[in-house]
């Protein structure tokens, strides 16, 4: 295998991008549609993809859950005039870190080997899950 300068330079191109939209049927809570986009049919298993989106939906639901924890956090923060957030991370921020880690894991284990890349929705304003489809050069070589 010759490693010419040409080969060493990054070459693969982005073939397409698919955007998984938000699902508003349960209100303004952050949820994404689990419908499998047709562009990914050749690249990944439908079940696998839906499982990823469902897991993400669960994590976001957990972040926005209205329970005793969020109420206690809210009341405590209010009593300290919200200065407590200077030293403490909010529950939502903790969940966002978890989500980022999950997406990275999924990318490493499942999506990158298939030439796909999931973008963390927080980088797209929590509007879409951007799935980048890379050209499959292994077939052309």
């Amino acid at each position: 295998m010759t490693h010419s300068l040409q080969d060493m330079r990054p070459q693969a191109a982005v073939a397409a991008k698919v955007f998984i939209q938000r699902d508003y049927t349960n209100g303004t809570v952050c949820q994404f549609q689990t419908k499998f986009p047709s562009e990914l049919e050749t690249r990944i298993d439908k079940q696998q993809f839906e499982e990823t989106v469902r897991m993400l939906n669960n994590l976001y639901a957990e972040a926005e859950k209205l329970g005793s924890q969020s109420y206690i956090e809210g009341c405590l923060a209010c009593l300290t005039a919200y200065t407590v957030f200077l030293c403490m991370e909010t529950h939502y921020e903790k969940m966002l870190k978890k989500i980022a880690k999950y997406i990275q894991e999924q990318n490493d284990k499942i999506y990158a080997p298939r030439g796909l890349l999931l973008t963390d929705p927080i980088e797209r304003g929590l509007r879409v899950i951007e799935v980048t489809i890379f050209e499959d050069r292994s077939l052309t070589r």
């Binding site: 060493m8 330079r9 990054p10 070459q11 693969a12 191109a13 982005v14 073939a15 397409a16 991008k17 698919v18 955007f19 938000r22 508003y24 049927t25 349960n26 209100g27 303004t28 972040a63 926005e64 859950k65 209205l66 969020s70 109420y71 956090e73 809210g74 009341c75 923060a77 209010c78 005039a81 919200y82 200065t83 957030f85 909010t90 529950h91 939502y92 921020e93 966002l96 990318n107 490493d108 990158a112 080997p113 030439g115 890349l117 973008t119 963390d120 927080i122 980088e123 797209r124 304003g125 929590l126 509007r127 879409v128 951007e130 890379f134 050209e135 499959d136 050069r137 292994s138 070589r141």
Partner: protein
Amino acid sequence: MSAVMITRKVRKWEKLPGKNTFCCDGRVMMARQKGVFYLTLFLIIGTCSLFFAFECPYLAVHLSPAIPVFAALLFLFVMAMLLRTSFSDPGVLPRALPEEATFIEMEIEAANGNVPAGQRPPPRIRNVQINNQIVKLKYCYTCKIFRPPRASHCSICDNCVDRFDHHCPWVGNCVGKRNYRYFYLFTLSLSLLTIYIFTFDIVHVVMREYPVSHLSSPKEQTGFTVLEVLVCFFTLWSVVGLTGFHTYLISLNQTTNEDIKGSWSGKNRVQNPYSHKNIIKNCCEVLCGPTYPSLSSVALTASVSFQHAVLCLQKTTAPLIPNEHTPDDAKPSIAASAEKSPSPKEELPPASKLPPLASPETDAETSIAKDKTH
């Protein structure tokens, strides 16, 4: 050796379109017009300074030292809430990147079908069913997104804001999902502070007129007291009224924007799909709900995260090495514009340079109406 792309960590807020101003490395986000905000600051700090300087020494000695202490705590809380409301991101929705905008346009065109020449294309609306209620999601021509439910475009800040309440010139910022509770606590605590100062001014005047203690000092000028009473009197009506109005809105889980437009007024049997039908639950959700992250000030640029992805891909499949320098004459599809996305400079400007095809919803009437209620 692959070319290393050295990028300065460009903060997202530095390239944010819209008419906001930023300070302190993106931590402070405000509207452009800040004049009225400075007036608010001046009125609050000025009146409280006069109170602490002229009334408190007398009241502390003749009534209780707890009076100025409590006033000071209340004043600090009011200032904290005001600054928090004014400086935080109200919930601005970042504009769509070019590929996303193109993708949505393609979807819209596919949905509309072929429009005969000369005819107006149908309005860009998506219908969503939320809790058995059909909600229309409008397309924002400026931000190139379908606005989420309850979001609205503020023409003063030129941004779509999530759970848009109104643009408040007194705090120099929009009031939206992220800072509504701080705004409410600001109006509530300001009402309490105004009532407190007003009450003790009256007490002070009465005590001077009818001295009860032989140790009381001779009558001093009550000019400043009169000034404070005047400011408090006029503030009282507007701020207490505003607090009452927002308490009503919170108990119904409505925004000012929805109230003014009569979205859930009950005509045609439309009801608020976001309300829990329980006052306490509604209040808890609005005031003690989760603290949402700011979507416009995420520090990582797309290029940095993309590079990380590049490294991941290099490890897994050797041939699939993305190229940051792909020429522009690549396939004319979404892919072509997608290749530009790694570089931070081309991220947002193309979207902002395109003029809106139709004027975005003017929320000017909302802010004007708000001014009237102040």
